[in-house]
Structure formats: C-alpha cells, structure tokens
C-alpha cells in the first residue's frame, strides 16, 4: 500500500517536472535540451530559431495573430506562437504591454508591412522558426521519456 502510494507520488512528481521542462523548452528555444545536458544541440537550436525569428523581424514580416474572419490566420498564429517568449516580447514591442493585454486575442497587431518586398519572406521565417521550436519541444519530450538519446 505504502509502496503504491510512493509510486503514485513519484509519477506525479515526474509528470510535473516533465510539464515544466516542456514549458521551458517552448518558452526559450534550446532550454529544454540544455537542462537535459544536450548542450551542443541546445545552442544550435537556439541560434537557428532565434536567427529565423530575427530575420522575420528584419524583413518586416507579420507575426500571426487570430482574425475572426480569416480561419488561416489561426494556423499562422499557432505556428508563430511556437516561438515562445520571442512571440510574446515581439507582441509587447508592437502593441505595448497594455495594448497586448487589452487587445488579446482579436485586437492585436502582428506588425509587418505587406507593401514591402520582404513581407512574405518574413512571414515564412516566423512560421518556420515557430514550427521548428515546436519540433524541439517534441524532441525534448522524447529525450526526457528515454525514447531517444
């Protein structure tokens, strides 16, 4: 009985730790791998994802924000939210802290200028960076569960 209770507590603690690990991995690209001791991969993933995001900003891309009349904007939002804290910081940068909070979710501006040549490229870099970070989160999950080295 005591052993079963101990086992349940251990499982609960592991589950909480895994949740925090995945959240950290999503918020800061590469942090999950860093915590798990995969330092080289952590640095490479961080550099790649941040580079993609910064390129998106420099090319005047638009971060995905949900628009009620445009269902595809939800997919773009999902991809961009994958960037974690970078997405949040950029939103606050563009809308101000008050604007980001009061405008959530449908009154946010994703920035960007569609009249500029780099707009579509910038969007692509944002989506790619976010989706890569989501794959990194899945990789952290696999490593933490022992399914991958």
């Amino acid at each position: 009985m005591s052993s079963a209770k101990h086992s349940t507590e251990t499982l609960g603690a592991r589950s909480r730790a895994a949740t925090w690990l995945l959240a950290a991995s999503w918020l800061v690209p590469g942090l999950g791998h860093w915590i798990l001791g995969k330092r080289v991969r952590a640095v490479v993933f961080a550099v790649v994802i941040v580079s993609a995001f910064v390129t998106g900003v420099l090319l005047n891309g638009e971060l995905g924000v949900p628009k009620p009349q445009n269902p595809f904007s939800w997919l773009a939002t999902f991809a961009c939210i994958g960037d974690g804290l970078l997405y949040v910081v950029r939103m606050v940068w563009l809308n101000g802290l008050g604007g980001a909070i009061s405008g959530f979710p449908f009154g946010l501006s994703g920035g960007g200028d569609p009249t500029l040549a780099g707009f579509a490229y910038g969007n692509t870099f944002f989506y790619t960076g976010g989706l890569m970070n989501l794959l990194v989160v899945l990789d952290v999950s696999d490593i933490a569960s022992g399914e991958k080295d």
């Binding site: 490479v44 993933f45 090319l59 692509t124 890569m132 990789d139």
Partner: protein, 55 residues
Amino acid sequence: MDHLLLMCWHAILVSVFFAFLWRSDASGRLKLFLKTLLIMVVGSTLLGWLMFPFP
C-alpha cells in the same frame, strides 16, 4: 533584396536544424545537412524555372 540569398539562408537554417534533430553523429549530420540543403536549393531553383512560362 536578393531573393536567392534569402532562399539559401532559409535552406541553411532548416538544414542545420534537421541535421541536429535527426542525427547524433558528426558525419551523419554533415551528410544530412548537405543532402537537405542541396534538395531545397536545387529543387526550388528547378521548380522556379519550370513555373517560369506560366502566368
């Protein structure tokens, strides 16, 4: 703005990412990086040429 340069930069980032995600040894990473990069850059350029006659 150089479109080809941007495409190559995008291909480099994605190739490095998948090389480190899917391979754990140095030679495997290098091979996958080069293969992915080549497929994306050459494939996109060829596709661009094929699409050229269409409006």
